[in-house]
Amino acid sequence: MMNLLRLIGGRTASAPVARERLQILLAHERGLRGQPELLGLLRAEILAVVSRHVVLDPEKVIVRMERGKHVSTLEVDIEVPTASKDRSRRLPHDC
């Protein structure tokens, strides 16, 4: 039947896709409400902890959240400067 419809219509129904995407997204966004700055907060705290031990460029710290239907992942990407560069820029209390 679907194939027949596809032949006549030339394309499949996209509304079910829209509906499913919205349901997943909104379930997640409603969970985040009330703590809207979660990612910003995580980023700031991770940055503070790591920079106590390593000199970092704050611009090179990326915190990203991926939403899945069953599992969400938190990805933290921190670029650490190479050792040679690092030595010259070490903080006093690290020496």
Binding site: A15, A18, R19, Q23, L26, E29, R30
Partner: protein, 271 residues
């Protein structure tokens, strides 16, 4: 008892101003004393849709700042004697609108009108939060499209947390108004269905306004669609929505265009 109703959506361009004008005129036609208030400071358009753009002298901000009296800023509709407009300012200073100032004006309007319809600006910033701040009821205008539904969900969350009613532990009565609906496309599975939207938003339905050329035609001439062509499909849908706001039980249906014989024979839409 006066009712303050905010027409809101989050997303822009979904039909907030059109709906405010149509619902306001519809309520006034039922004999209610109505004021429509434009909260879109800097980008006012309700005056244009209502056909009163050349009669604006003072505006909402002038009243908030005490430059003008409320009675000086209110514009009476030329077609309906119990319909009034309080226009927004064209100046860009959005900060001129304060929570306290808006509260004062709304309290004043409550003593003079049966319905106060607040046309919210798009977005979730200050203008939108102030428009909903003192609301008793909310109409959330939603298009059958993913980004509009997502923004409506966000606005519903704000209505439940950032309004005076919510802070008092009471509830703002919320209604979803679906606009630009195309039954044929929904039936083909190309557009979110009414059931999909209501299930996702978990909010009662006020009405379904079909996609129609009559809406543009009405705004072109500066007339609420309910006044411009009362027999048109969107006008009938808005009147049904008004009756539901008034507490009547009206069977939910999507009005269809009444096509002329020639158009029907040629299978084209009314131009």
């Amino acid at each position: 008892m006066a009712k303050v109703l905010v027409v809101t959506s989050g997303k822009g361009g979904v039909g907030k101003t059109t709906s405010t004008a149509a619902l306001g005129a519809g309520l006034a036609q039922m004999g209610e004393k109505v004021v429509v208030v434009d909260f879109d400071v800097g980008l006012r358009n309700l005056d244009l849709v209502m056909g009163a753009e050349r009669r604006v002298v003072f505006d909402l901000i002038n009243v908030v700042q005490g430059v003008a009296k409320l009675s000086q800023a209110l514009i009476r509709d030329k077609r309906l004697e119990n319909l009034w407009l309080l226009p927004a300012s064209q100046t860009r200073d959005k900060d001129a609108l304060t929570d306290e100032g808006v509260g004062r004006i709304i309290a004043d309007l409550r003593t003079k009108f049966d319905w106060i319809l607040c046309d919210s600006p798009a977005g979730i910033e200050r203008g939108a939060t102030l428009a909903m701040r003192y609301a008793d009821e909310a109409v959330i205008v939603t298009n059958p499209e993913v980004s509009s539904v997502r923004d409506s969900d966000r606005i519903i969350g704000m209505l439940d947390s950032k309004t005076v009613k919510a802070e008092r532990g009471e509830r703002v009565e919320k209604h979803v108004l679906i606009t630009r609906y195309d039954s044929a496309r929904a039936a083909r599975g190309e557009m979110l269905s009414i059931e999909d939207i209501l299930e996702i938003l978990a909010t009662p339905l006020l009405g379904i306004i079909p996609e129609s050329q009559d809406v543009l035609r009405a705004s072109n001439v500066g007339s609420p669609v309910t006044l411009n062509n009362a027999a048109s499909a969107p006008a009938r849908a808005y009147v049904d929505a008004v009756r539901r706001l008034m507490g009547e039980t009206v069977t939910m249906m999507v009005p269809v265009e009444r096509k002329g014989l020639m158009n029907r024979l040629l299978g084209r839409r009314a131009a």
